[in-house]
Symmetry: C2
Subunit: 252 residues, 2 copies
């Protein structure tokens, strides 16, 4: 099997509200699942404050070592929305008004009280940027170099991801299959390790839980190769059966 | 007002299951809220894969520039649980069996089939470490230098946090108060900016939403100084009122 390129992405979640515990992030899992379908692997995530230096540091390191970098948060009209300024500084480019973004915002606010200086902040982009359509509200997302600047509000981010579907070059999607069993993972850890070792190109994750007064675990087999994944899943099911723990396909 | 030390913490969330989107993280917000009460500010979070180098890099950078570093995940009995090994390497110390952890695990598994090699993996710690009590299951958390190694399963992490409550030196807790209004944040962004500027030591976060067919926003005022926070909240309420948007105390 030839070595295929694995496409990777990183995500920077920007916002004091995540770090203070006020808001439960939803964008990590949403973007991770979307990336899987595009054949791109989410490799690392950083959550940083609404702080120029913190954003710049994360953006510059992560954009250099991944094929794609996504950011969420900080692109609204208020004083704590500094993502565009920070990314422009990180890239060493000016902040400019994007004519199409300006047009979109004028149109959107035509029947909503008109544009204001604050609203026009949302037309500002790093020089050289393209827009990402936002069907949900006036303010577009922004694409510059390999960076995708998205909203913080999850359903707006979802709309932006929808606009990007199929637009990014990826590799083979990471396939996964889950098998569960009513077993303490420590009972079968040696079998898991051996099964993974015998199936190069597959990884087995083990996720224990305590439910209905009993311990159990779900095992997720991941591979970009369907053949390898299926062989590993079969070996895992057989292994559980032999040890006296009937496998439950799809997980518990 | 004298400059008071602000205590900071970072968190490394370890686990392929978060990066694949399979599992929705709950530990960031749980640990953030707990830290606030201890007078410690969560400054940055990284989510990394079950990968030695990725864990080591994050641990070494974040432990150096924060008062405390927390990790979640990767301390179970299976092959993908490599947190103790990675942190030991990051610190340049050996992995050793902790006698008390060994005793706890022997006792816990006495009526659960006895210890096995896999289960005894959970007694392994970086040399020099202390234990963090875990009332929920046999495996303890681990404290070494300024690093706190916690479980990935949120209710087990909660028990470990409980055991640490009041044990960590912190500063003044970060206070916060929320005010909401049925207003598009772009209508009042100038007032927000000015209000924040006039109250040094307070930050105002603006969090828009779309609900019941209307746009609104919640504003969170944060400060370590109750006097400053209350003055800023009052100015914010007055500002909203003057612009024709009745403030709703506590948020919407």
């Amino acid at each position: 099997m030839s070595q295929e390129k694995i496409y990777t992405a990183a995500l920077v979640v920007i916002g004091d509200e995540i770090l203070s515990g006020r808001t439960q992030d939803k964008n990590v899992s949403q973007i991770a699942l979307w990336l899987n379908i595009q054949g791109i692997r989410l490799k690392e995530v950083r959550v940083v404050a609404d702080d120029m230096d913190a954003i710049k540091e994360a953006v510059n390191i992560l954009r250099a070592r991944n094929d794609y970098l996504f950011t969420t948060g900080g692109i609204g009209p208020t004083h704590d929305d500094i993502t565009v300024d920070a990314i422009s500084e990180a890239l060493g480019v000016d902040v400019v008004v994007h004519p199409e973004a300006s047009r979109v915002l004028h149109k959107y606010y035509e029947k909503r009280g008109g544009v204001t200086e604050a609203r026009m902040r949302m037309a500002r982009v790093p020089d050289g940027a393209d827009l990402i359509a936002n069907k949900m509200s006036g303010a577009p997302g922004i694409r510059v170099e390999n960076i995708f600047i998205m909203a913080g509000v999850p359903h707006i981010t979802a709309g932006m991801l929808d606009a990007l579907t199929g637009q990014l070059e990826g590799g083979k999607p990471l396939l996964s299959h889950q098998v569960g069993a009513w077993v303490a993972e420590s009972e079968i850890s040696e079998m898991l390790r051996e099964t993974e070792k015998r199936h190069e190109g597959a990884q087995i994750g083990s996720y224990p839980f305590f439910r209905e007064g009993r311990v159990g675990a779900n095992f997720v087999v991941r591979s970009t190769d369907a053949h390898v994944m299926n062989a590993c899943v079969k070996a895992l099911r057989d292994g559980l059966d032999e040890l006296g723990y009937p496998p439950i396909d799809g997980g518990i």
